[in-house]
Symmetry: C2
Subunit: 132 residues, 2 copies
DNA sequence: ACTTACGTTTACGTTAACGTAAACTTCGAG
DNA sequence: CTCGAAGTTTACGTTAACGTAAACGTAAGT
C-alpha cells in the first residue's frame, strides 16, 4: 500500500509541469524523500500538492497556502499547542467563509441577471410572434 | 442622486491606491468620464470597481474578471445576442460553482480536522485531571 | 555502445499586477 | 500670489510564480 510517485507522475495527474512541483518544493510547500538525486513522493506529499493547487484555485498565494496547509501537519503535543492550533484554524476558517460570502454573492448576482435576460428573451419572442 | 467620485474617494473607500485604479482603467476594466484631465467616476464605475475587487479576492486575474464583468454590460439587443449571452453566463456560472465545491471541501476538511483537535484536547485534559 | 526517456541543478527570462518616482497642471485656502 | 493638496502622464522598478534553456547524470531498451 506504500504508494510512491515520480515527479512526472504527479505532473501528469494534476496537469502541471515538473518545474512547478520543484518550485513548490523550493518554497517549502512539499518535501519529498530522495533516492540519491531523484525525488520520491509519498501519498502524503501528493495530498499536500493537491491542497496547494486547491489553494491556488481559491486565490491564495503560495505563502498563504503554506500557512494553511502547515496547520495540518502541526505538532499536536500538549494543551497549549492544541489551543493555539485551534485558534489559527478558526482564523483561517473565517477567511474561507468570507470567500464563500463573496462567492455566493457573485453567483446569486449572476443568477438574477440571467433571469432578467431570459425575461427579455421571452419578450423578444412574443414580439416576433405577434409580427407574423 | 447623480453621485460622482474622485479617484481618491474610491481609493479610500476600497482601501487601494489611485495607481491601482488607473491600472484597471489601462486594462479596460473601468472607463470613467473626464472633466478635462481629471477622472470622474459614476456610481456604475464604482460598482464595476467593486466587482473587479471581488473577482480578485476569488482568485480571478484581471483579464478573467473583465470577461465576467463585461457580460453585465453586454448589448441586450436581439434574440441571438441574448442567447449567446445566456450561454456565456452559464459557462461562468459553472466556473463559480466549481470554486464553490473547492471551497466547501476546504471548509469541511478543516472542520473535521478541528474536531479531531478538540477531541485530543479533551483527552489531554482528562489525563491531567486524573494525575491530580 | 548508442539512443531515448526521465531525472537533476543552475540560472536567466517572462508575465501580471501593481509600486515608485519624476515632472507637470490645477485649484481652493490663506 | 503663493502654497499645498490632489490630480495627470510617462516610465522604469519590483515581486510572485513559474517558463525555458543549458549542461549534465542514469537506467532501460536495441
Amino acid at each position: 500500500m506504500k504508494q510512491t510517485f515520480s515527479i512526472s507522475d504527479l505532473a501528469r495527474e494534476f496537469d502541471i509541469t515538473p518545474r512547478t512541483i520543484r518550485h513548490y518544493e523550493a518554497e517549502g510547500l512539499i518535501t519529498p524523500a530522495r533516492d540519491g538525486q531523484r525525488r520520491i513522493y509519498s501519498g502524503r506529499d501528493r495530498v499536500r500538492l493537491a491542497l496547494v493547487l486547491r489553494g491556488k484555485r481559491l486565490g491564495f498565494s503560495l505563502a498563504e497556502a503554506k500557512e494553511i496547509i502547515d496547520l495540518y501537519s502541526a505538532p499536536q503535543g500538549e494543551a497549549f499547542q492544541l489551543r493555539t492550533l485551534l485558534e489559527k484554524l478558526d482564523e483561517k476558517r473565517e477567511m474561507l467563509e468570507d470567500k464563500r460570502r463573496d462567492l455566493d454573492a457573485a453567483i446569486s448576482n449572476m443568477d438574477k441577471y440571467a433571469a432578467r435576460c431570459r425575461d427579455r428573451l421571452g419578450e423578444v419572442r412574443t414580439r416576433r410572434e405577434a409580427a407574423e
